[in-house]
Amino acid sequence: MKWEVVIGLEVHVQLNTVSKIFSGASTAFGAEPNTQASLVELALPGVLPVLNKAVVEKAIRLGLALDATINQKNVFARKNYFYPDLPKGYQISQMELPIVEHGKLNILVGDEEKSIRVTRAHMEEDAGKSLHEDFHGMTGIDLNRAGTPLLEVVSEPDMRSAEEAVAYAKALHTLVTWLGICDGNMQEGSFRVDANVSVRPFGQAEFGTRREVKNLNSFRFLEQAIKYETQWQIETIEDGGKVQQATVLFDPDSGETRMMRSKEDAHDYRYFPDPDLLPVRISDEQIARVRSEMPELPAQMKARFVDAFGVTPYDAAVLTGSRALATYFEAVATASGQGKLAANWLGGDVAARLNREGKDIAELPIDAERLSGLLVRIADGTLSNKLAKQVFDAMWDSGLSADVIIERDGLKQVSDVGAIEKMVEEVLAANPKAVEEFRAGKEKALNALAGQVMKASKGKANPAQVQEILKQKLA
C-alpha cells in the first residue's frame, strides 16, 4: 500500500525583548541560575503579571507578515498543570482568542510554491529549566527562562513530507529573524519545533491518528524525526497494529522517537481566562503604526529581485534566505549593475569562503561597495574569472578595493591585441608539432596552444581574445 504522511507544526518562537513578558526581569541568556527570576517568575504569593507592550507589537508584526487576522480583542488564559519549572502551576497563554489567526506562509518545494495555512499564533510565557545533573539524585530548577515571551505558531496539517515541513520551518525561521522579533538561535532554544505526524493510505480523506514529536531544536532533527516517525507508523499499521495518540520525544543519538505520554494520561489543562489580566485591545492605529515600521518582506523582495535584477526564482529564494543576505545582495547588485553576476558570486565564491571560515553573511569582511567594485571589473573585462578569484581572496584579507589590488599586483587582464598577437606568434613558432596536429584536424591541439599563451602571459591574457587570435593565425 502507498502511504501519505500528514504533518502540522507547532513552533515556539522566543521573542527578543529585553524584559520578560509579565515582569521587568531581564531575558538575557546564560546568567547565573535564578538571578533573573523576579518575584513574578518565582510566583511568590501576591505577585501579579503586567504585560510587556513589545510582545504585543512583535506578535502583530508576525501576524501582518503572515497575512493573518489580528484579533483586536484577544484574551490570556491560564493553562493549568503542575511541573517544577512552572512556578505558578499554570502557564499564562492564550486559548479561545489568540492575538493572530488565519495566516499563511508560502514555501518552495522543488520548483513548486506551496501555501501552508497558519492556524494561529498566540502569546505565552516560557517555563524554567530542569537540570538533571546529579544533585544527590535530585533535579535542580532554574527559573531564569521562566517568563520569557513566546509566540506559539501553529500550522494546519498542510505538509506532506519531511522536506515540506523543513521548508516551512525554515521559511518561518527566516521570517521571524527577518522581522527582527526573534534572534533565531536554535541552539539556545529561541526557535523550537513540535511536529504532529500521522499517516494515511494515499487517497484517503480522513487523517490518521497523530503522534506529536516534541522539542526539535534543529532542522536536521526535524527531518530525521519526521522520517523515523513516518516509517514507524507505517510499519506499525502494516504489522497489524494501531497508532495510538501520544506525545513522543526524539532522541538525536539513536535517531528514534520514544513515547513520553499516551492520550490516557494527557493533561486536563482546565483553561480559563486569566482574571489577573484584562482583554488585550489593539487599535487600528496601532496596527497601522506597526505596519509602517515593518521591513519589506522576503516574499515581496524575492519577486522584486527576479523583476529588477533578472535573477532566477531559485536564486531569489536563496538570496532572501536572510534579511542580511538580501540587503547585501541588493546593495551589490544596485551599485554594480550586475544582478546575475552578484547572485552567482554570493551563491558561489562568497558562500564557499564564508562556509569554509564558519562565518555568517553579517560577518563578511568585504562590504557591498568593495564587492561591487570587483564585479564591475569582471564585467568590463579587466579581470578574468580566475583573476577575479585571486583579487577576491586578496580583498578578503586586506580590506583594500579591487582596483587597488589589481594595480598593486599588476593583475589587469591583457586585452591589447598587439601584445597578445606577439605572444601567439612566439608560441606557434615554438610548437610546430601542435600546429601540425591542429591543421590535421585535431581540435584539442588548439587548447594546448591556448594554454601555452596563457602561461606565457602569466594568466593575464584575455582568454577569449587568445582563442580568437590563435584561430586567425592558424587559418
Binding site: 541560575p33 538571578t35 518575584l39 503542575f82 511541573y83 539524585g137 533535579t139 535542580g140
Partner: protein, 95 residues
C-alpha cells in the same frame, strides 16, 4: 450530578492533593453537597448572555519593555525548602 470515589480520586490527583482512603467518604459527601448547591444555576436560562469575567469592562494596560527588576536571589531563596548552587531542588523529574 453526583461524584463517585473514582471521580474524587481523579479530581484530587489533578489538584495534587493527597486524599487518603480514610478521608475519601467525607470528601466525596461534601463535594457532592456543594455540587448540589451549584446545580441550582442550571434552572436559569442564560442563553444569549455574555459571560462576565471582570467587574470592569476595561482593556489591559501594557508596560514598556525595560528591565526594572534587580537580582534578589538571595533574599528570595532564604525561604526556599531546598537550594543548592542557586537552584531549587526537587525530587528527580522523569521525562
Amino acid at each position: 450530578m453526583s461524584l463517585s470515589h473514582q471521580d474524587v480520586a481523579r479530581i484530587a490527583r489533578l489538584s495534587r492533593i493527597a486524599v487518603t482512603d480514610a478521608e475519601i467518604d467525607a470528601v466525596n459527601r461534601q463535594l457532592n453537597s456543594i455540587l448540589g448547591l451549584i446545580e441550582q444555576m442550571q434552572a436559569v436560562n442564560t442563553d444569549g448572555i455574555e459571560p462576565m469575567a471582570h467587574p470592569q469592562d476595561v482593556s489591559l494596560r501594557l508596560r514598556e519593555d525595560v528591565v526594572t527588576e534587580p537580582n534578589r536571589r538571595e533574599a528570595c531563596q532564604a525561604v526556599a525548602p531546598q537550594v543548592e548552587k542557586g537552584l531549587f531542588l526537587v525530587p528527580k523529574v522523569i521525562e
